[in-house]
């Protein structure tokens, strides 16, 4: 393919990188990445993937933009209040990079639809705000063999890990089941420092770009967490568990079901 001068100039800072080059940029152009959640984490991921020229970006979120989102969900602007988050995010991604294909899904993620939604994507980014859906994303991605980046933030803390099904530990190898619903506060109850959404989301976006281009070592078999008050980062080595109920030797979870406290049930 003959690359246009504007393509080469837009992506020149990638192409100049020895590890990325023209070939890496063409891989990004051909890639399909799905962002689950257009909130604090999904916002920076969407902006950086669009800027990086990931050719096809899917984004899922049921919600409308609210005033309280704007403190951290930097893809949404004041004028977007009341609009579907996926539409707001799509508009910004295309404003950065009009050549992209952006697919929007204004829906909740449920056992009934996740298989269909993730089908065909090369990589999935977990930017959802509740544990049952994080487990659902893990289970569906492991079953479909689609790599994904787990991410979560609360107050001043963030954690992330990258899962390559069949090759590295999955979320359930580390955390077997969702915590009891009354044990975990949400961002709306506990608060969250806005900028840590950017800290964690940009780590996730970096993992996407590394996976697609094949550059470097992924955050697999490793749980990275940080505390922004002390600004300390911790890497915990983790291993695939032969007894893992999803990716272990004798899986007991073989089909997708909604957890009791699923967002689908809570909000409908």
């Amino acid at each position: 393919m003959e690359l246009s001068d504007s393509y080469l100039e837009r992506y020149s800072r990638h192409i100049l990188l020895h590890d990325v080059g023209v070939e890496g940029q063409e891989k990004l152009s051909a890639a399909k990445v799905l962002i689950l959640g257009a909130g604090g984490l999904g916002a920076p991921v969407a902006l950086y993937l669009a800027a990086a020229g990931v050719g096809t970006i899917g984004i899922l979120d049921h919600d409308l933009v609210e005033l309280s989102n704007l403190q951290r969900q930097v893809v949404h602007f004041t004028r977007d209040i009341g609009a579907p988050k996926v539409d707001s995010a799509r508009q910004k991604m295309l404003a950065i990079n009009p050549e992209l294909i952006v697919k929007t899904y204004q829906d909740y993620l449920c056992a009934a639809n996740i298989r269909e939604v993730i089908d065909g994507y090369d990589f999935v980014v977990d930017g959802v705000d509740n544990f049952p859906t994080k487990f659902l994303i893990n289970d569906a991605c492991v079953m479909a063999g689609i790599p994904f980046s787990h991410g979560g933030i609360l107050r001043f803390d963030g954690q992330t890990m990258t899962v390559v099904p069949g090759r590295s530990a999955c979320y359930r190898c580390v955390f077997r089941t969702p915590p009891p619903s009354d044990a975990v506060p949400t961002c709306s109850q506990a608060g969250v420092l806005g900028a840590i959404a950017g800290m964690l989301g940009t780590i996730q976006a970096t993992e996407v770009l590394k996976y697609i281009t094949g550059v470097g070592d992924l955050l697999t078999d490793t749980l990275l967490s940080f505390n922004a008050k002390a600004m300390t980062f911790r890497r915990v080595a983790i291993k695939r568990q032969p007894a893992c109920p999803v990716c272990g030797e004798r899986p007991t979870i073989t089909k997708l079901v909604d957890a009791e406290q699923s967002v689908c049930d809570l909000k409908r």
Binding site: E9, L16, V22
Partner: protein, 80 residues
């Protein structure tokens, strides 16, 4: 000495400044197979001072570089 080198591709980068001259050099190299030779014409000054070094860092070989009458340089690069 240049006359003995078979050039597989050539790109005139006169008037193209840093870093786009390196971007175009990398694009041309990506089209070649290992061992093939690319000739690029680079302006005197920053381009000739920067591009060959970056090409070397990526593992390719600079076969020769010679200044032309208009002060630009012809640089022969063998792809790694």
């Amino acid at each position: 000495m240049n006359t003995l080198v078979v050039v597989d591709a050539s790109r005139n980068l006169r008037g193209v400044s840093c870093p786009m001259n390196l971007v175009y050099t990398k694009v041309e190299l990506s089209k070649l197979r290992s061992g093939q030779v690319l000739e690029v014409i680079l302006d005197n000054g920053a381009p000739i001072n920067n591009v060959p070094g970056s090409v070397l860092k990526e593992g390719h070989t600079i076969i020769s570089q010679e200044q032309l009458a208009d002060s630009a340089w012809t640089v022969m690069i063998r792809k790694k």
